[in-house]
């Protein structure tokens, strides 16, 4: 478990280091994600090694947003001032994103001969 966690942290660290040396507008942990996705597919045993800690983190992912979310307390006046555009974004943009994603998936699946199996 600990070794698994260490591997995850090392990937994050490598990502953060890359983000410093190459000024990419991508967060360091995302570079770590990309690196792990590539290496995990070719290095045998790497998936099993990281999965122990990764599955536990992913199973409790929601908990990890709480500290940052509480930070909204410092910006309640901003939230109050912008409530109308905020609600509009939540409903309209989320609805459109759902629709476009599903329709493109279905459309392109059919075109490429991977139509629904269900």
């Amino acid at each position: 478990m600990l070794r698994s966690f260490l591997v995850l942290v090392l990937f994050q660290f490598t990502g953060e280091a890359l983000a410093i040396f190459f000024p990419l507008p991508v967060p360091g942990p995302v570079l770590g994600l990309a690196l792990l996705a590539v290496l995990g597919a070719v290095v045998p045993g790497l998936l099993d090694e990281v999965a122990k800690a990764a599955d536990m983190l992913l199973a409790n992912l929601s908990l990890l947003f709480v500290p940052a979310g509480v930070g909204i307390l410092q910006h309640l006046d901003l939230l109050r001032a912008e409530i109308v555009p905020l609600v509009a974004v939540l409903v309209l943009s989320t609805g459109v994103t759902l629709a476009v994603t599903a329709l493109v998936f279905v459309g392109v699946s059919r075109l490429t001969g991977h139509g629904e199996e269900a």
């Binding site: 908990l63 979310g69 409903v91």
Partner: protein, 241 residues
């Protein structure tokens, strides 16, 4: 307990990072148990419930955020390794991914660009400030990545965290009626859309409905995080001109 020693005890608690760490964990465990007991209704999201509960304690006790964060940072720091962990579904389903590369790639690209673009355009149309525009742009991406993106593009990560959670809840509520309305019956597409637009909360919702939908939702969550992190800064620069 006499009033004086109760006060001393409170001062000890409130200045101890351990107390705020314990409160964060307790609020989440309690909220999660309540949500599970009520059959996990999308509107009663455990994260939103926990934030409200912790926030109420901070307001009532007059505690400032930096004091709270001294304890809560031990949870917060795990966001980094959790982001790296999102590679797991990509590695696990890489054969499926290779087979369906074209539809999956097109859906991620279309969904990610629609998510960022529509958020910025709607926020602007309804008179949102520049700060709001930058904070809502990555709203469909999982919170750890979205907060990183918000920081890169000049948004407010705390606002983004809350907007991301609210987006997930909105997506989880909208997905079933909307897909029925659009007559999308393919579980892969329904799940993929739910995970892409509603990240972890949308994925949890998809898993409740159908196993295939859940798998594709998890995949969409990871891929959208990666794709949006790569394109959001550039797209935003174009939209802001």
């Amino acid at each position: 307990m006499p009033v004086e020693s109760a006060q001393t005890f409170w001062v000890f608690l409130a200045t101890s990072p351990l107390f705020w760490l314990a409160l964060t964990l307790a609020a989440y465990v309690g909220s999660d148990a309540l949500s599970a007991r009520l059959g996990r209704p999308p509107l009663l999201n455990p994260v939103l419930l926990s934030i409200t509960a912790v926030g109420a304690v901070l307001v009532v006790s007059g505690t400032d955020y930096p004091t709270y964060f001294e304890g809560a940072q031990f949870v917060h720091v795990l966001l980094g390794p959790a982001t790296v962990s999102l590679a797991i579904p990509i590695i696990r389903y890489r054969r499926e991914l290779r087979r369906l590369f074209v539809p999956v790639f097109c859906a991620v690209a279309a969904g990610s660009l629609t998510g960022i673009g529509s958020a910025v355009l709607v926020a602007r149309a309804f008179g949102g400030s520049e700060l709001l525009l930058h904070s809502v742009a990555p709203k469909s991406v999982t919170a750890p990545i979205a907060m990183g993106i918000a920081r890169e593009i000049g948004g407010l990560p705390e606002l983004t965290a809350v907007v991301v959670i609210l987006t997930g809840i909105t997506g989880a509520v909208l997905v079933t009626p909307l897909m029925n309305l659009l007559r999308v019956r393919d579980w892969r597409a329904r799940g993929f859309a739910s995970g892409l637009a509603g990240h972890g909360i949308g994925t949890a919702r998809a898993l409740q409905v159908n196993a295939t939908a859940g798998t594709y939702a998890g995949l969409a969550l990871a891929l959208n995080g990666l794709f949006t992190a790569l394109v959001a800064p550039t797209l935003l620069m174009l939209l802001m001109r």
